[in-house]
Structure formats: C-alpha cells, structure tokens
C-alpha cells in the first residue's frame, strides 16, 4: 500500500510518499499509526499527537478505527487549513 504525507507530517517524516508493507496484525488506521511510530524519530515526531492526525483512504476522509484492508493509498496529514 502506498502512503502519502502532507504538510508538517511530511516534513517530520522527511518524505512525501513511500510503499508500506505492514504485518497482518495491522488492521486499522490506528494500528498503522502505531506501527509507523516504531519506524524512527521522524515518524514518532509526526504521530506523537496521534489524535490530531487526519487520515484518508483512497482519497476519502476516514476515522482512525477504519480498517485499511483493500486500500491502495493511505494519506496522513494535519487538520486542514484551506479556504
């Protein structure tokens, strides 16, 4: 599955996108955030206030409880500030 990052989530992780292959016990968005936090300081910094991070699966907003199975693209970003 492809992961894409935006704004300060992108800056802290230090990349705009990457391919992820999480283990089978990673079921939900929340699980994936937990798994990513173990991948290094940048991820830990990006997700330290996990509740504030927004996620989208295949370009639609989802809650952290949402299952990630079947999604081709997951996005993580801070609350939006457009408009």
């Amino acid at each position: 599955m492809k992961a894409v990052y935006f704004a300060w989530v992108r800056e802290r992780i230090g990349k705009t996108e990457e391919v992820l292959a999480p283990p089978p016990e990673v079921v939900s968005v929340a699980d994936l955030i937990g798994w990513l936090r173990g991948r290094g300081e940048g991820y830990e910094a990006a997700f330290e206030q996990a509740g504030a991070i927004r996620a989208a699966l295949d370009r639609s907003h989802v809650r952290h409880e949402a299952p990630i199975a079947g999604a081709r693209e997951i996005a993580f970003f801070p609350p939006m500030t457009g408009g």
Partner: protein, 153 residues
Amino acid sequence: MTHPGVRVQAEGFDVAAESAALTAGRSDIGAVVAFTGLCRDEDGTLAALEIEHYPGMAEEEVGRVAAEAERRWPLAGLRVVHRFGRIRPGEPIVCVVTASRHRQAAFEAASFLMDFMKTRAPFWKKEHRTDGTSRDWVEAKASDDAATERWAG
C-alpha cells in the same frame, strides 16, 4: 466524484467571469453570491502564504462538498476555485459562487461551502514571514470546526 463547477489550480481566477458563466443566457436566476477569500498580510508580518494540497483528493473532496450543497439547496449553479502554491498578501486564494432563484439559498450554500472548504478540503497553509526567521504552518481554528458543526443534521 469530480464536479464540473470545481477547480484546483495554481493560477489566479476572475470571480466575475465565474459568476457570468453561471448566469449567461439564463433569466431564471434571482440571486448570485460570490465569496472571495484573500491573503491578508497580518499587519505586515506575512510575506506570502504557501498552500500545499493533496492532488486528486482536493478536487474530489471539494466536489463532494459541492454535491452536498446542491443536495441541500435548490441551486441553479455553483463554482468553486481553490488555488495552491505561493500566494502574496492581497491576492485571492479561493472563490465560491452560488446562483439560485432566491437569495437565502444562494447565501446559505456559499457560506456552507466555505465552512466545509475550511475543515474538509485537503489544503494546508504555511506562512512565510517578512522577517525571514520563521516559516510556520497555520493551525486549524476551533472556530472553523464550530462553523462547520452548525450545518449538522
């Protein structure tokens, strides 16, 4: 899910042309509301905004909000244009134009579109300061969430 009235672009836009496109050749429209959001200089401290967006999702999400506005109000047409990239104080960032038979639908739909644009459309603003020292991401405002909440139900 892309909506024919929605565009996401780096270039500027002409809100009068967007309005004219909605009303051209029609005489069943009684009200047009055109909202323009502009970049403020924050009392001279802001040199520019840099607007990042999620290509693809930005168009789709704004399109979903536009479709929801059309479901809620009897609109004769709508346009939404949101820019990304570097924008200087005084320049336009976003416009929303709604057309309807009656003014209340046009006003409410335009206000709804802007509230949802603020809280659901995947755009993020970074501030470039005139003093050159800091480049901060704009924080989401609780007042924008509250504004969105009032349309619930």
